[in-house]
Amino acid sequence: MTLTVHRIGPACTIQDQGRTGYLDQGLSRSGAADGLALFEGAALLGQSPECAALEMAGMGGEFEATALTTIALTGAPMQASIDGSPVVWNASHQMEAGQRLTIGSVLQGSYGYLHVGGGIDTEVFLGSRAAHLTARIGKAVQVGDRLPATGAGCVGMKLRPDDRFSGGVLRVVASFQTSLFDDETLMRFTQTDFQRGPRANRMGMQLDSEGEGFAAKGQLNILSEVITPGDIQMTGSGHPFILLPECQTTGGYPRIATVLPCDMPRAAQTPPGARVRFEFVTLEQALALQAAYDANLSRLPGRIEPLVRDPHDIADLLSYQLISGMISATD
């Protein structure tokens, strides 16, 4: 079971949960920008969330099955069809040998994911299949590449996704450099509506706002110190970047706060122009929020449902909203 790549967007890479343990050698974790999407794909195909998938930034491609293949589509919704027939996002599907899956542009959010039954089985490097382009590990997927996989997943299942594709409130905790910013600046930071700027990749995402930047005291004399994904780093001009899985491991620009891991899928999926606000929570609140997120991940396999149901089996049919989300059949 292999998918052959016939067309591909410019920023598609193989990703999994990333590699831990090389921070001391200057190598950040990498891994999927939207970690929740990996768990959703795994639930849909009935496999491990450790499986690698194709991460598609903004734009997908065209993929041909060389044999009977099972796939799932999660993360930022994109236009998708198999041999010209539209297929549902956040669902698992079967492809016969020779069938072509076409994935277009993102409709909402930033990163879509193509999962294959058994997981994409590319070479493991330092414990992970995740590409880390800034570290020159792996490559962007190219036309002619093959995405090998060995297993078969369950198909015809769907999952209602957690809506995280249009920005919103990101919960943050104070970190060791937060106190370099005075109270007035921190207050203004939490009261500001930010907009995701055009500069974004897997290293970080720029945020724009009206008014003056957010500078720290003695900003230029700070010793380079450890960076963690989710850190909100202020550049020299005081404009924030949220740092993502391929961020550097140390840096001299001060960080005002750190986005909670459970809010990082929402942060990474924020599309250009969407609004973001920050809300400080205590470490105790953060632990509770993260615990709820982790519990939700473990419940995902129980939340999948058949894609097609006989209306006779649906007791509350009239409570369903059957119109919204329809698109023109002639588009």
Binding site: T20, G21, Y22, L23, D24, Q25, G26, L27, F125, L126, T134, A135, R136, I137, V173, A174, S175, F176, L223, S224, E225, V226, T228, G230, D231, Q248, T249, T250, G251, T258, L260, P261, L283, A286, L287, Q290, A291, D294
Partner: protein, 249 residues
């Protein structure tokens, strides 16, 4: 002890980290303390610790707070801090000296002259001093395998450039604030590019992907441009023609 009273300083890093900082500047003692403390934390093998690292003057611990609560890590760190004077800790065992063939200046490393001028030296004097200094890997960071090396003499405490140099190649030796960085990949930089080597810090295709460890020492031995080209043509192990010797404990 000469360090400021409020160090070591223990602070949280985001949701799941703790940072133990031994000084707010890079000094010989604070760097040794950071390396030794990080290694002592590793030896505790605490269940729930995900990874650790040492930066110029701090040790970092990342952990899973659901398995290892913040208060437990705090307690362990405090106990360990009390066990000894970390500023007098020895350097790690198994250190090595790498002597790396280096072209100083020329069009391969075009900012030698201005680096020398900023240090108040002639280019020849700067080359002599820099090439005779054995520097230590103070920390590895920013990019994979990439060392921060020092300390260099106080005359080399020159500021970073205001304007970034758009791109310097892998193996570039750059200088600022009495430190070298030896770049592990092509990168823009505000440090002055005054030497060029064929040494590869990150060798993903080899069994041992990372060339250096914190505490290792390096010396950048002047060679001609022709010699470096010769090394590039014949040397396939990523060492750039460097010799490697164990440093006795």
């Amino acid at each position: 002890m000469t360090h400021v009273l409020n160090f070591p300083l223990v602070r949280t890093v985001g949701f799941d980290g703790l940072l133990v900082t031994f000084a707010d500047t890079m000094t010989e003692a604070s760097n040794r303390a950071a390396l030794a403390f990080r290694s002592a934390i590793e030896k505790l093998e605490l269940s729930g610790v995900l990874e650790t690292s040492a930066s110029l003057a701090s040790a970092y611990i990342r952990f899973d707070p659901t398995r290892l609560p913040h208060t437990d890590v705090d307690d362990q760190v405090m106990q360990l801090l009390d066990q000894r004077d970390w500023y007098r800790a020895p350097l790690p065992d198994g250190r090595r000296l790498m002597q790396v063939p280096t072209v100083y200046g020329t069009d391969l490393a075009p900012q030698l002259d201005e680096a020398a001028a900023a240090a108040g030296l002639s280019a020849a004097d700067a080359i002599e001093r820099l090439s005779q200094t054995r520097v230590r890997v103070l920390t590895i960071g920013f990019a994979p395998g990439q060392p921060y090396l020092g300390p260099l003499g106080p005359e080399f405490n020159i500021p970073r450039l205001k304007e970034l140099t758009p791109m310097v190649p892998e193996g570039a030796l750059v200088l600022a604030i009495s430190q070298f960085v030896l770049f592990s990949g092509p990168t823009p930089t505000g440090w002055r590019h005054m030497g060029q080597t064929a040494f590869r810090c990150f060798r993903p295709e080899m069994a041992q992907s990372f060339a250096l460890n914190p505490g290792d020492e390096m010396q950048f031995v002047p060679v001609s441009r022709d010699e470096l080209e010769g090394i590039r043509a014949t040397c396939t192990d990523g060492s750039g023609g460097a010799t490697c010797t164990e440093i006795p404990a």
